[in-house]
Symmetry: C2
DNA sequence: CCAAAAGTGTTCACGCTACACCCATGC
DNA sequence: GCATGGGTGTAGCGTGAACACTTTTGG
C-alpha cells in the first residue's frame, strides 16, 4: 500500500431523518445501541464498510432503520472534532433524509426504540449530534427554498393547504394562503387530480401530485424552482 | 478501543483554491507530488493528521501552499467512491478557499510548480478532482449570492466596477453597471474611501472597502445579503 | 341559512430593468 | 473639446403583500 505511513480513521455516517406530521417537522431518533453513551438519544448511524461509499452506508442505515428505499438523501458535511466521540477517533459524515412519515414501518420503530420528535422539542443528544442536527436543519431550509424537496415529506397526493402547512413548519412562519397558492401554481409542477380531500373543509380541496418529469423538463430549459420570495 | 472490529480509512483533504485576476475566476493547481499519478495536475491536498480536525488539515495545506493564514474556507463535502484513488481506499473531504491572488506568494508557486488556471481552461485532473472542482464551483456560486464572500477574492480596497467584474466572472454573465452599483450600495456594507483609482478611467473611481462589522450588525438584525435578483 | 375552508380578484407598493443622461479628466 | 469610463435619474414593468370577495357544502 502506497500510504502506509499515514494514519487511518474510523468513519461513521449519521442520518438526520426528517418527517412531517400534525403540522410539525419531526426528527427520528433512537437510543444509541452501543457503548459509549449506550441508551442515550442519538441519530441513526453506523460505520462505513470496506466496500461501500458513504452514500451506500447511509442508505444501508436508512433502510435498516426505516424499512424504506429510494429515500431522498443528501450529504450535509463531515464532522471531525478530535474528541467528538469518547469511544475513539471517529469522523462522522452526516446526511439528511426526507421521508413520508406514513410510509414508516412502525414495527421497526419498536424494534429500535426509535421515536419521532418535533424539531422544537429535541432531547439532549450524544456527542456533537445536536450540532449535526442544527447543521442539517439549516441545509434543509436552504435547499427547500430552491429545490422541490418538500414533496418528499408529503403523501403522493396532497392539497395546496397541506403543502403550505409543511413550508410553515419548515420555516416556522405563516404564509398567506392566497399568495402561496398562486406562487406554487405559477410553476406548473403540480398535476391536479380529479378527487377532493374533504377532511378539512366542507367544500373540499383538490388533491395534487408533484410531476417530477415536468420539473426535469423545465429545469433543462433553465427554470429554477424558487420560493425564497414568499415571506420566509 | 471500543470500535476495534471496525474498518479504518485514510482521510485526505483537497482544497479548491479560487482566485480572481484579469477578469477571470482562477483555480490554483499543482503537479501531484507523490505516487500514484505523480506529476499530473491535482488540487492542493494532504492527509489528515492524528490530532487535527479536517478543517485544521485544510488550513495547514492552505498555509503551506499559499503562505496565507486567515483564509476564507468552507467545507464542500466528502468524496468516498471506493476506487477514487488507485493508491488505496482514501476518503477525501473537499474544501473551497477564496484568496486574494495579489497576496499569493510567488516563491511558493515556484516551489510547488503550482499554476493558476482560468476556470474555463482547467486541464485534466487526477482521480475525481474534476468532480470535486465542479462541486466546489457550484457551492461557490450558490454561496456568493447570499453571503458577502466575493470580497475575499479582491484586494482590501476595490472599485464597484471591479466588484461587478468579479461577479460577472463567477456567474459568467454581464451585469448592468448602474443597477449592480445601486443594488450593492443599497446594502450599505461598503465604506467609501477618500481615494480614487484612476487606472481604468480618466475620471477615476472611488475605492471602497467591505465593512465586516456593519455586516454582522445588520445580520444580527435580520438582514440577509442577497444579490440573487441581479440577473444571474 | 350559516360557518368555515377553498379558491379568486384586485389594489398597492416596491424593486428590478433598461436606457438616457450628466460628470470628471487626460490627452 | 472629445473620448472614456464613472456615476445618477427615471419611466415602465413585474411581482409579492395584503385583504376583500366568491364558492362550496355539511350541518
Amino acid at each position: 500500500m502506497t500510504y502506509n505511513d499515514k494514519k487511518q480513521f474510523y468513519l461513521a455516517v449519521d442520518c438526520v431523518i426528517f418527517g412531517y406530521e400534525d403540522y410539525k417537522l419531526k426528527l427520528l431518533l433512537q437510543p444509541r445501541p452501543i457503548e459509549p453513551s449506550k441508551g442515550e438519544w442519538a441519530l441513526m448511524g453506523g460505520f462505513c464498510g470496506d466496500a461501500e461509499t458513504l452514500e451506500n452506508a447511509a442508505n444501508r442505515v436508512l433502510e435498516k432503520t426505516t424499512g424504506l428505499t429510494n429515500i431522498y438523501m443528501k450529504q450535509v458535511q463531515a464532522f471531525s472534532q478530535v474528541n467528538r466521540d469518547p469511544g475513539g477517533r471517529v469522523i462522522s459524515v452526516a446526511f439528511f433524509a426526507l421521508i413520508n412519515i406514513r410510509n414508516y414501518d412502525d414495527d421497526l420503530l419498536k424494534q429500535y426504540g426509535a421515536q419521532w420528535f418535533s424539531i422544537e422539542e429535541i432531547p439532549n443528544l450524544i456527542f456533537d449530534h445536536a450540532e449535526i442536527v442544527e447543521n442539517a436543519m439549516q441545509q434543509l431550509r436552504r435547499t427547500a427554498k430552491i429545490q422541490p424537496i418538500g414533496f418528499e415529506l408529503l403523501p403522493e397526493n396532497f392539497t395546496i393547504t397541506q403543502l403550505r402547512n409543511l413550508y410553515e413548519a419548515i420555516y416556522q412562519c405563516t404564509l398567506e394562503p392566497a399568495n402561496f397558492r398562486r406562487k406554487i401554481m405559477s410553476m406548473k409542477l403540480l398535476d391536479r387530480l380529479p378527487f377532493k380531500d374533504k377532511n378539512s373543509s366542507r367544500k373540499g380541496a383538490y388533491l395534487y401530485s408533484f410531476n417530477q418529469e415536468k420539473y426535469e423538463n423545465l429545469s433543462a430549459q433553465g427554470f429554477s424552482f424558487d420560493i425564497s420570495h414568499a415571506q420566509m
